[in-house]
């Protein structure tokens, strides 16, 4: 089983799906010969040819719209946004065409839009956004946010096979910083189903509900808490839509306390939805306020000290968790 980075796992998933399914192809700016800005599609053009690894003009709306049409016509497009931030330009195509086609006419749109997400890389306001919460309001789109290499691989393969449009949020900060043994291979690779959260650490005193880049931070916080005799459970949502409400509610019902953590900014982030579900459906088990830790409600500043201020840090999570534990 090869040890792969998160980024290599993504490339492997693309490769393996392309290998077993002729309908799968990648498209986007510079994805072909170059293999994309981050190398996620590297050598796929050399292996599968120009018709299955398509360099496009700079036109995100067009790219996503073309993917919708191809998906409806029997293909399985995987469109790359060079940075997640630019999916703003494709917002209309995603919510208007991709999301609502099946509901209206029963015609499936099996496609994936890959979005290199997230901050912590000195990218400034336009190369750091977390875009997952731009879409969960819009019924018809699935949203995936892997935190590990194994999940990146397994969830991307599931996303490609899913008959629905999937916004696949890859966290750039994790690309080269996270490594894992990943079971790959066109036939033997290990898929991870969409819609299932993972309890990545069991605990009894409080639940930290999180996804993507803040999963590692939350696990580190759980370690620190353990040293203080606090037992924290960590739930990695993995997919936001479908939302695994049962796993979240079961955890909170058990621990009685919920801390929701994401790198995305607070207001309108997915955490609000999670908090609302808990406040309605686990209310009777709650022993403390539902807390959220997230980034500032501002654009993402560029200068390193400002960006650090913007992002939720391990220490922010720890202090919120400790407060909650002591409540």
């Amino acid at each position: 089983m090869p040890e792969l980075t998160y980024l290599e796992a993504i490339r492997a998933a693309l490769h393996d799906e392309m290998e077993i399914d002729d309908r799968v192809f990648v498209m986007g700016e510079d994805v072909g010969r170059q293999g994309g800005a981050f190398g996620a599609t590297k050598e796929l053009q050399q292996r599968f040819g120009e018709l299955r690894s398509i360099d496009t003009p700079v036109a995100e709306s067009g790219i996503v719209g073309v993917a919708v049409g191809a998906a409806m016509s029997g293909q399985r497009p995987v469109a790359e946004m060079q940075f997640a931030d630019f999916v703003s330009c494709a917002f209309d195509q995603l919510i208007t065409c991709a999301a609502k086609m099946h509901y209206r006419i029963g015609w499936a749109v099996p496609m994936v839009v890959r979005c290199p997400n997230g901050g912590g890389v000195g990218g400034g306001p336009y190369h750091s956004e977390n875009v997952e919460a731009w879409f969960h309001h819009h019924a018809g789109l699935k949203i995936v946010c892997p935190a590990t290499a194994v999940d990146a691989y397994g969830l991307l393969r599931s996303a490609i096979r899913d008959p629905n449009p999937v916004v696949f949020c890859e966290h750039k900060f994790l690309y080269r910083r996270v490594k894992q043994d990943v079971a790959t291979g066109p036939r033997d690779g290990q898929l991870v189903p969409l819609g299932k959260a993972a309890v990545v650490r069991e605990g009894t005193d409080l639940s930290i509900i999180t996804y993507a880049s803040t999963v590692q931070l939350s696990l580190a916080v759980a370690d620190s808490l353990a040293a203080q005799d606090v037992s924290a459970e960590v739930v990695d949502l993995r997919t936001l839509v479908p939302f695994d409400r049962e796993t979240v509610l079961a955890s909170v019902r058990k621990t009685g306390k919920a801390l929701i953590v994401h790198e995305d900014n607070l207001t309108g982030g997915f955490g609000g939805e999670v908090a609302a579900v808990i406040a309605q459906d686990a209310f009777e088990h709650l022993d403390a306020p539902v807390r959220r830790v997230a980034a500032l409600d501002t654009p993402i500043p560029f200068a390193p000290p400002l960006e650090r201020e913007y992002l939720p840090l391990e220490s922010d999570i720890l202090s919120a968790a400790a407060d909650l534990a002591a409540y």
């Binding site: 192809f25 018709l51 299955r52 398509i54 496009t56 003009p57 036109a59 709306s61 067009g62 790219i63 996503v64 719209g65 073309v66 993917a67 919708v68 049409g69 191809a70 998906a71 409806m72 016509s73 029997g74 293909q75 497009p77 209309d92 195509q93 208007t96 065409c97 609502k100 086609m101 099946h102 509901y103 209206r104 006419i105 029963g106 015609w107 499936a108 749109v109 099996p110 019924a139 018809g140 699935k142 008959p163 629905n164």
Partner: protein, 345 residues
């Protein structure tokens, strides 16, 4: 009487307009009469308060809707056709039964969307008609995507979409056409220049009121045809489709026409559309013109036309009855279908 298409870009001259046989011309006549009759009936139903929403008519543009759809292959493995809201005729020609059009306008369960969408937001896999969205020009990139799929699989199918002059101002028109040109996909773009977008005259929409010239900016071969002459539209379409099937990349056809009424049934167009122009264009009515050509140039007996008109009358009558008798979908269906369970459902 067919106006020859004017070729713009530096590409192979179009083949001479194909000879349209009498039978073919009569077929075009049937579809145009059916289109007109369906729309007239729908407008009446709207006025009687029997259709929710509003009603958008394509009266006067039937030569385009019928002419562009006729050369296409039908069925799930046929050509992709994504017509604009003026193009009721395209839906009919490409296979949607008349009664389902009425069911759609009424929001009944027999509508192709089971009442989930209205208007000409109609479609289905069985006809390879995607269900258009309201957002103008959005269907252009989708059409390019369908064409790309055909090219990827080496199929000689084409993908066709139509849109109004107003749609040419939107970014998706631009992005879609440019990508189509660069990827050399078999797509045909049909611009229906009826000189109005709601209350906005084309002079406020663009400085380049000959829309075929816009295709030049993408390197897409373009022709301009008389959009009130069904034989001209049909011939241009036959040629464009042939070029596409032969792998020569996308084509653009501008159909010059005029919007013969308000934007929608509720629009008081008399306040802004010059009556003289409406009168002038009324003389160019595409159905009248085809009729004349059939009677005078082709010396077809009026009886044959009359028979077609009678047949259509019956068909429309039956269609309305069937749609009327149809029920609404169960409200429970409102909850269903957000996600597909399988890609082939």
């Amino acid at each position: 009487m067919s106006t020859p298409a004017r070729n713009i870009a530096a590409v192979p001259e179009p083949a001479p307009a194909p000879r349209v046989s009498d039978e073919e011309a009569l077929d075009l006549y049937y579809w145009m009469v059916l289109t007109r009759a369906t729309e007239e009936r729908a407008l009446n139903l709207y006025r009687q308060g029997k259709l929710p929403g509003s009603y958008y008519t394509g009266r006067g543009q039937e030569a385009i809707s019928v002419g562009m759809a006729t050369p296409l292959r039908k069925g799930p493995d046929g050509d992709w056709l994504s017509p604009w809201i003026r193009d009721l005729g395209s839906y009919l020609v490409h296979g949607v039964p008349v009664w389902r059009m009425f069911a759609q306008f009424m929001g009944k369960a027999g509508s192709t969307t089971r009442g989930k969408d209205g208007n000409l937001h109609i479609g289905g896999r069985e006809w390879n008609i995607p269900c258009q969205v309201s957002h103008m020009a959005d269907m252009i990139p989708l059409t390019v995507g369908a064409a790309l799929a055909y090219k990827q699989r080496g199929e000689d199918r084409v993908a066709v979409t139509s849109f109004g002059d107003g749609a040419t101002s939107r970014g998706d028109f631009h992005e879609g056409l440019n990508i189509a040109a660069v990827l050399e996909v078999p797509a045909v773009f049909v611009a229906e220049n009826n000189r109005w977008a709601y209350t906005t005259p084309i002079s406020k929409q663009t400085k380049v009121t000959d829309l075929y010239k816009k295709a030049l900016g993408y390197g897409i071969p373009a022709v301009e045809v008389d959009g009130n002459d069904v034989l001209a539209v049909y011939s241009a379409m036959v040629e464009a489709v042939a070029q596409c099937r032969a792998g020569r990349g996308p084509r653009f056809i501008e159909c010059k026409t005029y919007r013969m009424a308000g934007h929608a049934a509720h629009d008081k167009y008399e306040s802004y559309m010059p009556m003289e122009l409406l009168a002038e264009w009324s003389d160019k009515d595409p159905l009248k013109r085809l009729e004349q050509s059939l009677l005078e140039e082709r010396s077809i007996a009026d009886g044959r036309l009359e028979k077609i008109r009678e047949r259509v009358k019956d068909e429309v009558h039956e269609a309305v009855e069937r749609a009327d008798a149809d029920g609404y979908a169960d409200p429970a269906e409102a909850h269903q279908g957000v996600f597909a369970e399988s890609a082939d459902a």
